[in-house]
């Protein structure tokens, strides 16, 4: 509850600071301090210090799963701001508003991670989506950015419609938005419930960019200003996954045999399309867009498996994936040339950046001793734990092998090709944050319990 209120307040504060504060750095500092504060109050709530108690009639429950994920999201955002706050300012003139929108999105994230009622889910998803439409189109002079924004808005509205229709059908059958009462076992679920569940499934799959509802993702991720692609492909996507697994566990847990096969099919399709299409891309940014679809395929395994390991694994996965991807995007933003060739000879000119980027890429590819490896391991273990569909696990492993190809292309370009990359403007803060991120990736790859103990105690 602390974070929910504070993030909304901070959003408003940022809007006003844009009027009152003249210097860019002051606004940036307010945003970073606010972000740090948000992280602190959320951690305080985890250790029992709740500042606001508001009766939500059981529509919102801040349990450990929600709080821990919020902390991961806030920490990622804080690191993201350290790395890229200056680049946010370069997107357009309304920079204070961008920070405000980011805080509003975080407000939506706290809702989607803790909802107990379908209404709150809807509210949270919309609070996330609408600022994202704006951020995607924030580079107003850029036609691609505008196009992406419009596409995102159109398709997003479509999926919102699906979601509302699904909620309406379920309400029609059960007369309630409460997830627990929806989950009450009926002998044979009515067609209304199943249809509503499918519509919700489609709209959530859309939001996490799972195939075949992923079409918006490459265009939007590619068209949006790179700083915001970084944010929405990582923290936002992970947040929607948390909502996804929460919805299907709490509202439809008893209908598992109705949706598990569908989840498996969607997982396979997502893994396949994400990985295979990424292979042919020439631009690193577009490759990362497809890679985010591929990673979503892996995260889908947790929704499919829906057991204790799946939830643990999803937390670990969202941390591993967010840290690594934010780091890569931060480096990518600094580059002028987004193609693979743009990275030629990078290691000679920027050894530190190249080394950290390599660690992030290794983590995304799932190489041992990185967080990405253990995250994938958890996912596969969870999927094996269901005892069904062994082919799904085998397929996922093969696709992970395919992913090595396109991730290593970047490493190859950085280390083994001659080239003349541009001189980059790198601040010490940027460097150190990257090093911290890389250290976190390796640390979680060796001691995943550093994160997961928070889930249990």
């Amino acid at each position: 509850m602390n974070a929910l209120l504070l993030s909304a307040v901070l959003g408003v504060v940022m809007m006003f600071s844009g009027i009152w504060l003249k210097s860019k750095s002051a606004i940036r500092n307010v945003a970073i301090v606010g972000m740090a504060l948000l992280l602190v109050v959320n951690i305080l709530e985890m250790s029992g210090m709740i500042f606001f108690r508001i009766d939500t009639k059981g529509m919102i429950v801040f349990d450990r799963f929600a709080l821990l994920f919020d902390s991961i999201a806030f920490l990622s955002t804080l690191l993201y701001l350290f790395l890229s706050a200056q680049d946010i300012e370069k997107v357009g003139i309304n920079y204070a508003d961008y920070f405000a929108l980011i805080f509003f999105i975080l407000c939506g994230i706290t809702l989607t991670s803790s909802f107990k009622s379908l209404l709150i889910l809807f509210l949270g998803v919309e609070i996330i989506s609408i600022p994202l439409y704006i951020l995607t189109g924030s580079d107003k002079r850029n036609l691609k950015s505008n196009e992406a924004s419009l596409k995102y808005f159109l398709l997003g509205s479509f999926s919102t419609g699906l979601m509302l229709m699904g909620i309406a059908l379920i309400y029609g059958d059960k007369g309630s938005f409460d997830t627990n009462s929806i989950n009450l076992i009926t002998e044979t679920p009515s067609a209304l419930i199943v249809a509503g569940m499918l519509l919700l499934l489609f709209s959530m799959a859309f939001k996490v960019s799972a195939a075949p509802f992923h079409f918006w993702a490459p265009d939007v991720y590619d068209g949006a200003p790179t700083v915001f692609t970084s944010f929405m492909a990582t923290i936002v996507k992970a947040a929607v996954f948390i909502a996804f697994i929460r919805l299907f566990e709490e509202a439809f847990g008893n209908l598992q045999n109705k949706w598990q096969l569908l989840m498996a099919i969607i997982t396979v399709a997502t893994l396949f399309i994400g990985n295979i299409t990424a292979v042919f891309q020439q631009s690193v940014k577009r490759m990362l867009a497809y890679s985010s679809i591929a990673q979503a395929g892996f995260m889908m395994l947790s929704v499919y498996a829906m057991n204790a390991e799946a939830k643990e694994g999803l937390l670990l996965y969202s941390a591993a994936y967010s840290f690594a991807t934010i780091g890569i995007f931060a480096v990518l933003i600094k580059m002028k040339d987004y193609t693979f060739d743009g990275f030629n000879g990078f290691a000679k000119h920027q050894p530190l950046l190249a080394a950290t980027t390599t660690i992030f890429l290794l983590s995304l590819a799932g190489i041992p001793l990185t967080a990405g490896f253990l995250a994938k391991f958890y996912m596969l273990k969870a999927a094996l734990g269901t005892g069904k569909y062994l082919w799904l696990v085998i397929f996922a492993v093969i696709m992970a092998a395919v992913s090595v190809y396109y991730y290593f292309r970047v490493i190859q370009a950085m280390y083994f090709k001659e080239g003349d990359p541009p001189v980059l403007q790198i601040t010490p803060v940027f460097k150190w944050t990257l090093v911290i991120l890389a250290a976190l990736v390796i640390l979680l790859g060796i001691f995943p319990n550093l994160l997961l103990t928070w889930y249990y105690f």
Binding site: L154, L155, F158, A195, L198, F213, D219, K258, T277
Partner: protein
């Protein structure tokens, strides 16, 4: 500075080893368990050290002799530039570390770690002068030969784990676990372990790497390829005596292989002209004796010979190093001669080493070799005669070496003649200490016949190596045997004196040529193993690698690339087509859900 650090740490280990030894001597053997090293299912392997009589004795030998050789190295390697000097000492220290790990481990896995570690250091040090391609080849040969043995060792470990689920000594050698093993299992495990030992300790058929290993610096030959590492195989079998004693077949294999190696290497040593090669074959031959001792069940005699051999062989190598140093790098004995006056200390120490290795009483070699010969005599008279013959060969080739190098006329160049000088103190002092040990080292194992309770070593080792209750030879027979062997050895020495006092080198013919070419074993291996394997490799490379594997791998890659190009087309950029595709898939899913799976 590098040298001081390098020697200092070994000296510190030596001091600690003495403390350990004193503790063990008071009966405080212990197993120190540090942490769980490997934990898989029911298999638990802990990282533990075992300090008992056997390991503490080896600790003393390794760190003591090791320290002396480190000191010697400072002076011997002086001409190396500082960076290379540091590299040398880091390898040498790493070797000591691995060797200590090998003997201190409380289970076979820790031993194996040390085993691999010493193999690595041996490789690095043989190829220390890596700019010489021949030396690199020698290093590779040593490494590959050792790998063959290591593989057998590993299989033995897996076998143990599969059958009794443990590798720790205390558990493997416990009566219950030994009873659980079938006798065929024990035979296989012990034979595999012996194959490992044969690799490391240069026994037939894996011995050929050791003579080539002389490519390394001489102190390395002294430390690794004479005194310590090559005795790891002896240590392993002595450690596993409980297993070996249960398999008569393995014991016989060990004994016969040891004896055959001893004789074969001794015959080759007769005709070698490189001072280090002679010593190398002599080492192989002496190792053969140790295995012979193990094979007839006289484990403590084998360990005794390890100890005395460490003293006199290290001494001989260091003295040889001193000779090479004096001759400005010359190793061919045909170009030496008459050195006894110019390098007195070296001469005297070398002489002591020769007397010790030949087994002339009361030098150390006499006691240990006599213990082995006696045990062999108790076991089998024919083996005894052959072993005695080997001992005579030993005396012959060692004194041949001594006379050719140190007596007669100088045969080198004039430049060498003027240059020849005694080595500095850092080299001669370790030699003198080792010479003293070579003289006195045998006194820890005085046979019962001379002194009641004189065999302190066997008594000391008794907790680890149970005393064998075999047929005891009467004291009279024993005395006669000793007298025969000693007199024969002295006779051989005199014979060598007359033969080599004034040497003339001529082209060898017949058997001599065969011996000079080491029985053509290297050529035989080349023909039987190396060439066919190379051919097979070339075949697999051209057929399987190129056309099968490569095509398969590249084919998969091309397929993925092709798929990627096609799938990319789905991403048209048209919102309308996106919505269409989404709706179509939704409809399909609805159909699947409502009509296909009820």
């Amino acid at each position: 500075m590098t040298g001081v650090i390098g020697c200092g740490v070994v000296l510190a280990s030596f001091v600690l080893s003495i403390m350990v030894f004193l503790q063990v001597k008071d009966g405080h053997s212990q197993v120190v368990d540090y942490f769980n090293f490997i934990n898989v299912g029911d298999l638990k392997i802990s990282f533990a050290f075992q300090l008992d009589q056997l390991s503490s004795l080896f600790l003393l030998i390794i760190t003591g002799v090791g320290f002396l050789i480190h000191v010697y190295s400072i002076s011997y390697m002086q001409e190396e530039n500082p960076g290379q000097f540091g590299r040398y000492f880091s390898f040498l220290n790493l070797f000591i570390f691995s060797m200590l790990l090998l003997v201190m481990g409380a289970n076979y896995v820790i031993m194996f770690i040390g085993w691999e570690g010493v193999g690595l250091c041996s490789y690095l040090l043989i190829g220390y002068w890596f700019k010489n391609n021949e030396f690199n080849k020698a290093a590779n040969k040593a490494f590959i030969m050792n790998r063959i043995g290591d593989l057998a060792f590993l299989i033995a470990l897996f076998w143990l784990i599969a059958k009794i689920g443990t590798v720790s000594y205390s558990e493997v050698f416990s009566a219950t676990n030994l009873a659980r093993l079938k006798s065929s299992d024990i035979t296989i495990i012990t034979l595999l372990l012996f194959t490992g030992a044969a690799g490391k300790s240069a026994q037939i058929p894996l011995y050929t790497w050791l003579p080539d290993a002389m490519a390394g610096p001489t102190p390395v030959s002294a430390l690794i390829h004479a005194a310590t590492m090559v005795t790891a195989g002896i240590y392993m079998i002595a450690r596993s005596n409980a297993l070996y004693s249960l398999s008569q077949i393995s014991m016989n294999v060990v004994a016969i292989t040891g004896l055959a190696t001893a004789i074969l290497a001794a015959t080759i040593a007769l005709k070698q002209n490189d001072i280090k090669k002679v010593l190398a074959y002599s080492t192989v031959s002496q190792l053969g004796y140790m295995f012979l001792a193990l094979g007839v069940g006289a484990y403590s005699a084998g360990v005794f010979h390890v100890m005395t051999h460490a003293f006199f062989k290290a001494l001989l190598f260091l003295a040889a190093g001193s000779v090479i140093h004096a001759m400005g790098g010359e190793q061919d004995i045909r170009k030496m001669g008459g050195l006894s006056k110019k390098i007195k200390i070296t001469y005297i120490t070398f002489l002591i080493g020769c007397i010790a290795i030949a087994g002339i009483p009361p030098f150390s070699g006499f006691f240990s070799k006599d213990a082995i010969l006696l045990a062999v005599f108790e076991h089998n008279k024919i083996l005894y005669v052959i072993a005695l013959l080997g001992a005579l060969l030993t005396a012959f080739y060692m004194f041949r070496l001594l006379f050719i190098v140190f007596t007669g006329a100088f045969r080198g160049t004039d430049e060498q003649k003027d240059h020849t000088h005694e080595s500095p103190g850092a080299m001669t002092i370790p030699m003198i200490i080792l010479a003293i040990l070579s003289v006195l080292g045998g006194l820890v194992g005085i046979p019962e016949v001379f002194m009641h309770g004189g065999d302190k070593l066997t008594a000391f080792l008794a907790p680890v190596i149970p005393l064998q209750a075999g047929e005891i030879v009467s004291h009279n027979t024993e005395l006669i045997l000793m007298a025969i062997s000693s007199l024969l050895v002295i006779g051989v020495v005199v014979f060598a004196w007359f033969l080599f006092r004034k040497t003339r080198f001529s082209e060898s013919k017949g058997l001599g040529k065969v011996l000079e070419n080491k029985w053509y074993v290297d050529e035989l291996y080349e023909k039987i193993f190396v060439k066919p394997l190379n051919k097979l490799g070339a075949f697999f490379n051209s057929v399987f690698e190129r056309s099968v594997i490569d095509d398969l791998v590249n084919g998969v890659g091309r397929l993925v690339n092709y798929g990627s190009r096609q799938l990319r087309l789905l991403q048209s950029g048209q919102v309308g087509s996106y919505v269409l595709l989404m709706v179509v898939s939704m409809v399909l899913i609805f159909i699947l859900q409502f009509f296909i799976r009820k």
